[in-house]
């Protein structure tokens, strides 16, 4: 019986992993995937559940744990945000682009078995591009987006190079929404994820 239970857990976990492997990384922020509380927008509802008037997006907050701290409290909040579908396009060599609806990748905030739900954890997403450059190929890490613990997306004007050819010099830059954030790519030995701070 315990073996059967273990098998079922593994089967469900594998199914979740294979589903997550097809998640789409956001490359920009638009009306379709603008999660989090919208700036300059009115919402109807309560602290637990609310709907944005501008986009009809349903958000549900369920506080799980709250730990008081010195200056800043911490805690775990589970949030449902309805904007988890992305229309993504793919190049088909037999004709036009193929458009498909896919789940948006939610990185470290994802709850693997609950679609649309997330933890209050900030994280970054980015993609990779490859270009021909001076008889070589350059690989860039680009389309960085910082997703704050509330789910708000902040695209950053930073890029990193994953190859030595034609290396880019965009290690620091502001957020593209003009919200006063400043993105900084770390030194190579610190890892690949950038950091965000307040713009000077």
């Amino acid at each position: 019986m315990p073996a059967m239970r273990l098998f079922l857990i593994c089967a469900v976990a594998c199914a979740v992993i294979s589903a997550r492997a097809q998640d789409v990384i956001p490359t920009k922020v638009n009306d379709q995937n603008r999660t989090g509380g919208l700036p300059f927008s009115t919402s109807i509802g309560t602290d637990v559940e609310s709907v944005d008037v501008a986009g009809d997006n349903l958000r549900v907050h369920i506080p799980i744990v709250s730990i008081p701290g010195r200056g800043m409290n911490s805690g775990l909040v589970l949030t449902y945000d309805g904007r988890f579908w992305l229309a993504s396009r793919y190049v088909d060599i037999h004709g036009n682009y193929i458009y498909q609806w896919k789940f948006e990748s939610r990185g470290a905030a994802a709850l693997s078995s609950a679609i649309g739900w997330r933890k209050n954890v900030g994280y970054f997403t980015h993609g990779t591009k490859k270009f021909s450059c001076l008889n070589n190929t350059a690989t860039y890490l680009t389309n960085y987006i910082y997703i704050d613990p509330d789910g708000g997306k902040h695209p950053l004007a930073v890029q990193g190079a994953a190859s030595s050819a034609c290396a880019v010099q965009d290690a620091n830059g502001p957020d593209l929404g003009g919200e006063g954030m400043w993105g900084m790519m770390p030194a190579e030995e610190e890892g690949q994820q950038p950091r965000v701070g307040e713009s000077a």
Binding site: I98, K129, K130, T137, T139, A162, S164, A165
Partner: protein
């Protein structure tokens, strides 16, 4: 003393792992290599084919249909002309680069879309032919069911020959081939369609091959079904195939 030995073992394992990782030796599974060699022999890969032209019809799952002309030269030059609803879309691939022509407008395709694009209409000249390249990894996955047939599942991916990180090259080059265990003909391939924005966003595309006929010593499938993300996308029925007709290089410019 009790802790010294495990620590030394760990250190030596770590030191050994550094040159192994740096060399990036490709994986060459002997069983997979043997099956691929037999498959290429059965498919007529060594029949001395320089170029091909295939003509036929294409029916999309949405209801539209049209004609398709596929040209190839070697394994690096590949061109598809699809005419449907009075509109023509041309995709051209030439040695790792590619472009699309539609309504008189030419658009270059991203490197990651074009780099591993090979002729698909004759499997002997598809990505399978890359298995002999020194930077191609070849792994035997197992014997699997493809429809009612048993097929050897073999996985190919490449190591970078430039400065591209290996994990990125693997995303770009991943290719699966399913070879009929009895006839040794290719019954299915699987690779990926890529987003024009970033490499990581990709969806699987499967090609199923039927109705093999021998043309000029080469096994040519006259029916091909494409399945994108698990759903049937289109079906190609080939009506005419010609080999070594002297396809011009200008067709791939």
């Amino acid at each position: 003393m009790r802790l010294t030995r495990p620590a030394l073992l760990l250190l030596s394992a770590f030191l050994i792992s550094i040159p192994v990782a740096a060399q990036q030796q490709p994986r060459k599974d002997p069983q997979a290599l043997a099956i691929l060699a037999q498959c290429q022999a059965a498919m007529g890969a060594s029949a001395g084919v320089r170029d091909t032209i295939a003509e036929g019809t294409i029916a999309f799952e949405g209801g539209s249909s049209g004609t398709i002309t596929i040209k190839s030269k070697g394994v690096a030059q590949y061109r598809l002309d699809v005419t449907s609803n009075g509109k023509q879309v041309t995709n051209v691939f030439n040695g790792g680069t590619g472009h699309r022509q539609q309504d008189g407008k030419r658009t270059d395709l991203p490197v990651w879309v074009a780099q591993y694009q090979r002729p698909e209409h004759i499997p002997a000249f598809s990505r399978i032919a890359d298995f002999v390249l020194p930077n191609t990894n070849v792994a035997y996955v197992g014997l699997e069911d493809v429809g009612s047939r048993k097929a050897h599942h073999i996985w190919l991916w490449s190591l970078p020959t430039d400065g591209t990180p290996p994990e990125v090259e693997k995303l770009l080059s991943e290719f699966h081939v399913f070879i009929d265990a009895e006839s040794l003909l290719v019954v299915k391939t699987q690779n990926y369609l890529f987003s024009p924005e970033i490499i990581e966003n990709r969806i699987p595309v499967e090609n199923y091959y039927w109705d093999y006929r021998t043309v000029g010593g080469v096994a040519v499938p006259f029916r091909m079904v494409r399945v994108v993300s698990g759903k049937k996308h289109s079906e190609i029925v080939v009506t005419h195939v010609a080999l070594n007709v002297g396809v011009a290089d200008s067709d791939f410019q």
